[in-house]
Symmetry: C2
Subunit: 459 residues, 2 copies
């Protein structure tokens, strides 16, 4: 008899009812009675796992009763319906053998541990139900993203992580070097013969591929040496940056909306048990929020309209810590008001003051705004940042001059506007920001397998 | 009338025959006659593209005839069958407008450029037919890998790139720091409060997740500061590292074989035009090689058997530069002989001398060998390296002591053998090594969007 996973057991349940199967996995908890035992068994391939039941007729009954929480075991037994849950059977065990013991001082006991404690034992936390849910969703959401783009003919591009091009990251980058530290650096002797850093974005390289394949997307790690100890900042995180040729700001906003709805639907379809658990864990409202998103129509307003709405709200008694300014950025509290109080839906805010946005955004005729767009979502604030790119050579180089950005090291980027340039647009989405939204888990440290934050680089 | 891509045109060809469509893309070449013009048009969404034909009845005929190679254009016209190729229609243009001009000194002229020249203009090379084929296959092969694992319930894990754990990479790593260079380094003041480097593998962290989810895979960038200027080494490349609990060496070899065949089939199914082009570009034999692989049965031999075969070959007159040794590694020429001359198939070589393999491999009872396995393939040599992992606590720590590997910083890895450990196995595959095999393109610099090698870090 072949060993199967609990995932196969679930998929083939009708066929396997009443049959004998073998499973391999671990003991999450072990409840013992005089003539019986109940093992909460899991192998991690399926969120809901069968309970293993054995009685004193089993060989080695006393030995089995002594099996510790955390141990690896092999179970053989008959699949029988469970009274509690028709989708998750019980296994009436005829044999249980120990594959790997676990001491009684195992840190993961069957009780609720704080997320802070679990971060300290990050290598064990994927064994808990919370992190089984979170990291399965992380995996499925990644596949949702790849599927979305591949189904639409996009080319997945791996942009470089080590870069000598610092147009975007000045001051916030990690140095990468093979030079001995402590000596006066001679970069001509460094591995690449020049000063290099970890990339903060793959967008500019992504644009070069969009000018060849029309539609491309990146999905890779990104690094920021920002000394921020917040719930939403990590020094190492994953980003998705699609870039589309022959695409203007309006089409970009359509794509952002369609993309997010598709991802959410994909995860709702494939992780119902994980989401139901997280819905309870996070105090309810998660499933409602996600289901509502797939049905909603995203609001679209200019930055100016957004500020007007916020200022009117202040006049009518809403209290903000920061006063919304026509020339300025919006704060978290403003984003919250727009999505959760005013529109009750995601909001696309476009046409931003050019002073607070990047040099590569398309300049509107008003001389004041650029075709940038931020997607704000209820419960998580800014989820995507995008723009139509400046494709007019003179406008781009003028803006680079104004901002003091070197044109020499960026000649290849500028040349895209010379060699068959066209209207094009793209956006960036932080993958962990999406996961915070999808799981309801609030801290970025709890949606990354091994988080890197200031003073934290363990495992 | 909506604008469509050439990919949609191909998919909906039967329906669109005789209809008017609009396309947006670029001019690859432009042949002019007195009363007619022929544009080799592409938008990068499909490898085979329609020819655009116009005649003097079109508005702005003279202006259109002056359109340069490399320009971005919008074409409207009727879809008609092509005499040359029933799958790829012609467009009888009624309108052609310029979206973005391109100067006459554009580096990519319609002639064959050397790959060396194209590396210097790496930001333009994805526009060539060669790199349209290579980078589409790169994208599709990545999806093949994700699909393989997701279909089998694996959890995709993003292992950390910045690490303080240097068990595997001693001497070959890039330092990551925010300290000012040139001053005596005080690592307690570095971003993470300790010395950090770029990871050379995610395997050890991958194992921690396999002990929770049973089956996991990584797919992410990896870094080696090796000063090697060969065709197959890059400082930054992508790796796939699956790890399976309750899986021994034999099952690992089955999975490696099944995995590689699935990936090759997936790419053969989805990129026939790209592969046909590469088959011609690389001098023939590529398609035969890939098709043969999907039908072949991989040979399985121990390292000892491999050395015996190689030494017999020498006795019978085969010349090797390096003499095969029972205690030593195999050279490229040996791998070539085994796969291309002796077995005419991929070969799994297992049970390697423990001295030349990693500390974490399962030690056989003979006291001399470990359960490591290398997959060798015809035409590309070693494609995967894997092993059953040492899951016996004492054996592992003894070996670490012998090799002088610190047990303190690796306590979490060692603890996996204490807290419900089990038989488990995994392998690593360099993604670019796979692409060299899949595309027939020989140099790793030509299968990475922007390659990083000693003294090269452009774009």
């Amino acid at each position: 008899m072949d060993t199967i996973t609990t995932r196969e057991l679930k998929e083939r349940l009708a066929e396997l009812q009443g049959q004998e199967v073998s499973l391999q996995g671990w003991i999450r908890s072990h409840r013992k009675q005089k003539n019986m035992g109940f093992i909460d068994f899991y192998d991690g391939t399926c969120f809901k796992n069968p309970q293993v039941v054995y009685d004193s007729a089993i060989a080695d009954f006393d030995k089995i009763q002594a099996f510790h929480v955390g141990s690896a075991v092999r179970v053989t037994g008959k699949v029988v319906p469970s009274y509690k849950d028709p989708e998750t059977p019980e296994i009436q065990a005829s044999q249980i053998t120990l594959e790997g013991d676990c001491p009684e001082d195992y840190p993961l006991q069957p009780k609720r541990h704080s997320v802070e404690f679990l971060r300290e034992i990050a290598y064990l936390r994927p064994r808990t139900r919370l992190f089984q849910a979170v990291f399965r969703i992380r995996s499925v959401a990644a596949m949702a993203i790849h599927t979305y783009f591949q189904d639409r003919g996009f080319v997945y591009v791996h942009t470089p992580l080590i870069t000598a091009n610092d147009a975007e990251g000045a001051g916030n980058t990690f140095t990468v070097t093979t030079l001995p530290l402590g000596e006066k650096p001679d970069f001509t002797k460094d591995f690449f013969g020049k000063q290099t850093a970890l990339a903060v974005s793959g967008q500019l390289e992504g644009e070069t591929f969009a000018m060849a394949f029309s539609n491309i997307n990146t999905f890779g790690p990104t690094f920021r040496a920002e000394n921020s100890n917040t719930k939403t900042h990590a020094a190492e995180f994953w980003m998705i940056e699609p870039e589309m040729a022959f695409c203007d700001l309006n089409r970009l906003m359509e794509i952002e909306e369609d993309f997010l709805k598709s991802i959410v639907k994909y995860v709702l379809d494939r992780c119902p048990d994980e989401l139901k658990f997280l819905d309870g864990f996070t105090g309810g409202g998660l499933l409602d929020k996600l289901n509502a998103l797939t049905e909603s129509s995203f609001a679209r307003i200019t930055h100016e309209e957004a500020i007007t709405i916020l200022r009117k709200a202040m006049e009518n008694g809403t209290e903000f810590q920061f006063t919304p300014e026509y020339g300025g950025d919006t704060a978290k509290e403003h984003e919250k008001y727009l999505t959760e109080e005013y529109f009750h839906s995601p909001v696309l805010v476009y046409d931003w003051p050019k002073e607070i946005k990047s040099f590569y955004m398309y300049q509107n005729d008003d001389g004041k705004t650029v075709r940038g767009v931020d997607l704000l979502v209820p419960g998580a604030g800014e989820l995507m940042g995008g723009s139509q790119r400046e494709d007019r050579l003179e406008k781009l180089t003028e803006r680079m001059d104004e901002l003091g950005i070197s044109k020499e090291t960026m000649d290849w980027y500028i040349n895209l506007r010379k060699f068959g340039g066209c209207t094009h647009s793209g956006f960036g989405m932080g993958f962990e920001r999406l996961l915070i939204y999808l799981t309801g888990v609030e801290n970025i440290r709890d949606v990354i397998p091994y988080f890197r934050t200031p003073m934290n680089c363990d495992f």
